[in-house]
């Protein structure tokens, strides 16, 4: 199989991943951190689909991507529920205010 088109796909995936990680580490808004997580997962998905297309990975890469999408949606739901709970208790979504361990 001709794998010459694989590297650009992986570069885009790596760029999305790094943007997601920087977003997760620098954003003080809790929802902003969640957006970073979504970017990371999409970078990984692009990796899977690229390998599915250009190497012998075949259908397995696309099935994995489907499962990644489903699990990312589930994780976004739970993370948003936690963020809403935090907002209800502290009246702010600033994650720097979450520095006490008591409930």
């Amino acid at each position: 199989m001709d794998a010459s088109g694989l590297s650009p796909v992986l570069w885009v995936g790596a760029f999305l991943f790094v943007c997601g990680v920087v977003c997760m580490t620098t954003k003080r808004n809790g929802i902003g951190v969640l957006m970073g997580v979504e970017l990371v997962l999409n970078g990984a998905n692009l990796n899977f689909i690229g390998f599915s297309r250009y190497t012998a990975l075949g259908l397995d890469g696309q099935v994995f991507s489907l499962f990644v999408i489903v699990l990312a949606a589930a994780e976004a739901a739970v993370a948003l529920a936690i963020a809403l709970n935090f907002y209800n208790n502290h009246l702010t979504i600033d994650v720097d205010r979450g520095d006490e361990l008591r409930g």
């Binding site: 920087v22 692009l46 012998a56 075949g58 529920a81 600033d94």
Partner: protein
Amino acid sequence: MTGEQILFGLFALLACGGAISVVLCQSVVRMAFSLIVSLASVSALFFLLNADFVGATQLMVYVGGTLVLLIFGVMLTASSPFVRIRTSPAEGFLAGGIGILFLALVAFTIGAVDWDATTAKLPAPATVATAGHNSAESGNTMRPLALALAGLRPDAPGGSGYLLPFEIVSMHLLVVLVGAAYIARTKRNARSAAQSRAG
């Protein structure tokens, strides 16, 4: 430059531009809309990479579901208009520098691998194999994906299907929905408790 390469370049630029915009925006609403652009471009990239079902799923579930949920979260956790949550510039520079270094490391590693030679070393795929899994008359990727999720692998005979992970993910979604609904249920929040104490 073939048309496919031009389209790939365009959507790759949109995806990366959207991602950079998510990192650089200070308003969380603008971040959400940049993320919509980025994820829709990733879906277009999926279509270009012969993953039509995954691309459609990405549009429906991610852009149409998860991002709408994030925008709801943004609206429900909105702070007052004069309070801006910002990161300090020093932290931003440090994180950006480390990010650029990491990206350079990964990009260099990707460029240094000869993927054709690596693929040639792997065991050859089964003979009935991947030759047909993208052809139009066999239902593009939707039919092989559906069969794989039902436990059959016509494209790789002898391989097990994905029925067990499919069932596990279904139960996982149910548990997650019940859990999220419980965590985010309406309770007396701090503001109403303070008001009732003062009033």
